[in-house]
């Protein structure tokens, strides 16, 4: 099977998963929305019934009032699509969601009311924060991991595994809270809220943005780099025990080239996959970390959606997160295929 065909199948699979997940989630969503809509309808009718003319109508001709109420109810049900059957609504919700039409939020977020627009604004910010963090983590991780692999069993190595175990047990978002306590509250070095100042423009805006990004960035890096370095170390140690490393040494390849050329290059497919899987694995913690810092990305949207019961928004962010997750897995596959000739040519 050629790699292109393999990739095609992967993409097709991912799409199937996405459709299926959207369908299941839509079932839940429609159920929630139904309860929601019923209360909303009751609220609207109660509000309108306070209109003096209707109060008079109710007093003079109760039957006519009841009739008005019934009609209005029907009308509203149509408006909220409650007249359709449950499954019709599920199907249409699934379809709309797949086509990125998530409806509107009840109150504007980031100055937008349309959920797709809100998410459009949030994604680049999340990507900015976490890609930057991941690049830093990968870099530190590689350096530390390789050093530890070279000195396996020595003090550096032991220190790294202790560090990895310690940081692996820390919830990232809690570290964020502690960082705010220390660096924002106690030392006053950084702002506690990472919400950028929208009044700034140009260079000043970006400076402000970076300034506000530093603390969340530090949090993500602090929690993740130990574990990541440990993973690199394990992959590197396994690779360094391979015969071809001995062969490279026997060929007289300088030690640096053996490690950074042969070993690292051979270890790169699993390392890259681990980077991406790690990135995706930290997604959960990242979502909450954003909320802690008020960083206006996807995580913040989750927080807003949950706090204000914005059902449409929640549905939108979940869908987009799942889609991004699936896409990243495919990207991981592509990069793996690019790095590992065994996958590239055939499987």
């Amino acid at each position: 099977m050629s790699f292109a065909k393999y990739l095609g199948i992967r993409i097709f699979n991912a799409l199937l998963v996405l459709i299926f997940v959207t369908f299941v989630v839509s079932i839940l969503f429609v159920k929630v929305a139904e309860d929601d809509a019923k209360t909303r309808i009751a609220e609207i009718i109660n509000n309108e019934a306070r209109n003096p003319s209707l109060i008079r109508l109710k007093a003079n001709d109760p039957e006519a009032f009841e009739k008005w109420k019934r009609n209005r109810m029907e009308q509203l049900k149509r408006e909220f699509e409650l007249d359709k059957t449950f499954w019709e609504r599920v199907i249409s919700k699934t379809k709309n969601t797949l086509l990125l039409d998530f409806g509107n939020a009840r109150s504007p977020v980031f100055g937008e009311i349309k959920v797709s627009k809100i998410i459009e604004k949030a994604i680049p910010r999340t990507v900015l924060l976490f890609t930057t963090a991941q690049i830093i983590i990968t870099f530190i991780g590689l350096i530390l991991g390789i050093k530890a692999a070279q000195k396996a069993g020595k003090a550096v190595d032991k220190l790294l595994s202790v560090l990895a175990m310690l940081t692996a047990s820390l919830p990232m978002w809690w570290v964020g809270m502690v960082f705010i306590l220390i660096f924002a509250f106690q030392l006053g070095l950084f702002p506690a809220s990472s919400l950028p100042d929208p009044n700034l423009e140009g260079f000043a805006y970006y400076r402000d943005l970076i300034w506000r990004m530093l603390l969340p960035l530090a949090t993500v890096v602090f929690v993740s780099f130990g574990g990541w370095a440990y993973t690199t170390r394990n992959i590197m140690i396994t690779t360094m025990h391979e015969d071809f490393i001995t062969v490279a040494r026997a060929k007289g390849v300088p030690e640096n080239r053996v490690i950074y050329g042969h070993a690292l290059r051979a270890a790169s497919p699993p390392i890259v996959t681990n980077v991406i899987i790690g990135l995706l694995g930290s997604l959960g913690g990242a979502i909450i970390t954003e909320a802690v810092f008020n960083w206006p990305g996807m995580g913040r949207l989750y927080w807003v959606a949950l706090q204000q019961s914005e059902v449409n928004l929640l549905m939108g962010v979940t869908y987009v997160t799942v889609a991004l997750f699936l896409a990243s897995m495919i990207i991981a596959d592509v990069i793996y295929g690019y790095l590992d000739p065994r996958v590239r040519v055939g499987r």
Binding site: M165, L314, V322
Partner: protein
């Protein structure tokens, strides 16, 4: 024979375990955590979970730091103290007159926030027959202040000295006369509204008594005189005076006055039980799933693997958040466990399948099959015993994941609102702006507790892994 085998391997295991320093630390931590969870009602009080989510803890100060910070700061803050009737001197003067004396040693730069008197139980029904109470404060400098005179009290009377209007007026007037500070009327109204009654009560009498009172250290005696009419009884056995502290207990309090120490102790129960339940269930399900998949082979294996891959390709937390929202944020603990198990078994199943496949191909299994061993025998006699070591270490390593995900859900307000959990404490802290207000005692301990549980299981898991899966030892 089998029992002896078991004994032998247990002995081997213990022997090896002794060389795993991390494992021993993890084990000790775990024992401590489990005992804390078990003895929570004795360490704190048994009614904590019930009271936790329902009410304000009115008798406690809000957002008070722990008392031990006094050891580290130059400014000594009054701790929270509760005086019951046993701590007071009660004199029965006869004729329905009782004098209660509360002796309070003030050695703090910052006096108590408030003094709350409550727990009078009277039988008087007629308003005019209600007992009268007068409170006089005798200060170490010899001054006496009448805080309250002939106040009628009933069973539900609660006196808060710091905010009581009568006390405020009395204290203001006393302070003005004794200090001789001249005030113009505008200033007077402003000062009277803004003054901190407690700081003046426990302050030195000088010109600065209103602007910046200097603490007066020494013995303060509160004399409470209660006069009741002859035919009515007043029962003071439940009478308490709460000196509401600027600091509180071991871990301070949150914005609802809840004792954070109590929350931490009780949180251990939820954290451990959720973590262990999720880990054990998901690993067992994963192992069974993986072994079944490997054993069946063919289209059933294919089908099970497709489903496994499907689950693997889902981002866990976003889906959990959505499910949590579906339950409208009232997910009870059993539901949380089930939700976490729903995603927890996936990775284990993958590894268990590939291990089972390898074992299936081993010669001795083939030999057993050739000798006519049934599939049940092969699975339970050959495959399971080889997978179990992996399963055990995996269980330990899954606990931190479960604990952290549970905490994360709680932190998003999707936990069980009736349970005392660390995640929920942090959720409350976040909502109360604890970080930007510097309530570190509210933020740091719950997270450390989560980390401690995580760490002890990681240490244990890594040690188990090293012993039970020796091929990993070189790594």
């Amino acid at each position: 024979m089998r029992l002896e085998d078991l004994k032998e391997s247990a002995k081997d295991f213990l022997h090896e375990f002794r060389y795993q320093k991390g494992g021993i630390i993890g084990f000790v931590l775990l024992v401590i955590l489990v005992s804390v969870a078990v003895f929570a009602p004795y360490i704190t009080s048994p009614d904590v979970p019930e009271r936790w989510s329902k009410e304000f803890w009115v008798e406690n100060p809000q957002n008070a730091p722990p008392t031990w910070i006094n050891y580290f700061s130059s400014e000594k803050l009054a701790p929270h103290e509760v005086y019951t009737i046993e701590d007071m001197q009660v004199e029965d003067m006869g004729g329905g007159r009782k004098i209660i004396k509360i002796v309070y040693m003030n050695s703090y730069d910052s006096p108590p926030k408030d003094i709350v008197l409550k727990g009078f139980e009277t039988t008087a029904s007629d308003v005019r027959q209600k007992p009268k109470m007068t409170i006089i404060l005798k200060r170490p400098d010899g001054n006496e202040i009448v805080l309250m005179k002939d106040r009628r009290i009933s069973s539900n009377t609660v006196i808060q000295i710091a905010t009581n209007t009568e006390v405020k007026n009395n204290v203001f007037n006393w302070a003005k006369t004794t200090s001789g500070v001249q005030l113009n009327p505008v200033e007077e109204i402003k000062l009277q509204a803004l003054m901190d009654t407690m700081k003046i009560l426990f302050g030195k009498v000088d010109k600065k008594i209103f602007e910046s009172p200097v603490p007066l250290l020494g013995e303060y005696v509160f004399e409470i005189q209660i006069t009741s009419s002859d035919d009515d009884t007043i029962n003071l056995s439940n009478f308490t005076a709460v000196f509401s502290g600027r600091t509180y207990g071991l871990m301070g309090t949150d914005s609802k006055g809840r004792d954070i120490w109590a929350g931490l102790i009780w949180g251990t129960r939820v954290s451990l039980s959720v973590g262990i339940a999720v880990a054990v269930l998901s690993v067992l399900i994963g192992v069974v799933y993986g072994v079944a998949s490997a054993y069946f082979g063919g289209w059933r294996d294919e089908l099970l693997q497709r489903f496994n891959e499907f689950m693997f390709s889902l981002p866990v937390l976003p889906i959990l958040i959505l499910l949590g929202a579906y339950f409208k944020g009232h997910v009870d603990l059993v539901q949380i466990v089930l939700l976490l198990v729903l995603f927890g078994w996936v990775g284990v199943a993958k590894v268990a399948r590939s291990m089972a496949l390898q074992i299936k191909e081993q010669t001795f299994v083939e030999a057993a099959r050739a000798l006519g061993a049934g599939s049940g025998r092969i699975v339970f006699k050959h495959i399971m015993p080889q997978i179990m070591p992996y399963a055990f270490s995996q269980m330990a390593l899954s606990v931190p994941y479960a604990v952290m995900t549970e905490a994360a859900l709680s932190f998003l307000g999707l936990g069980d609102p009736t349970a005392v959990t660390w995640g929920q404490m942090l959720y409350d802290a976040q909502n109360a702006g604890a970080t930007i207000n510097g309530y570190w005692w509210w933020v740091i301990p719950p997270g450390l507790a989560i980390a401690l549980v995580g760490l002890s299981f990681v240490l244990l898991g890594v040690a188990l892994d090293r012993i039970l899966n020796p091929r990993m030892r070189t790594l």
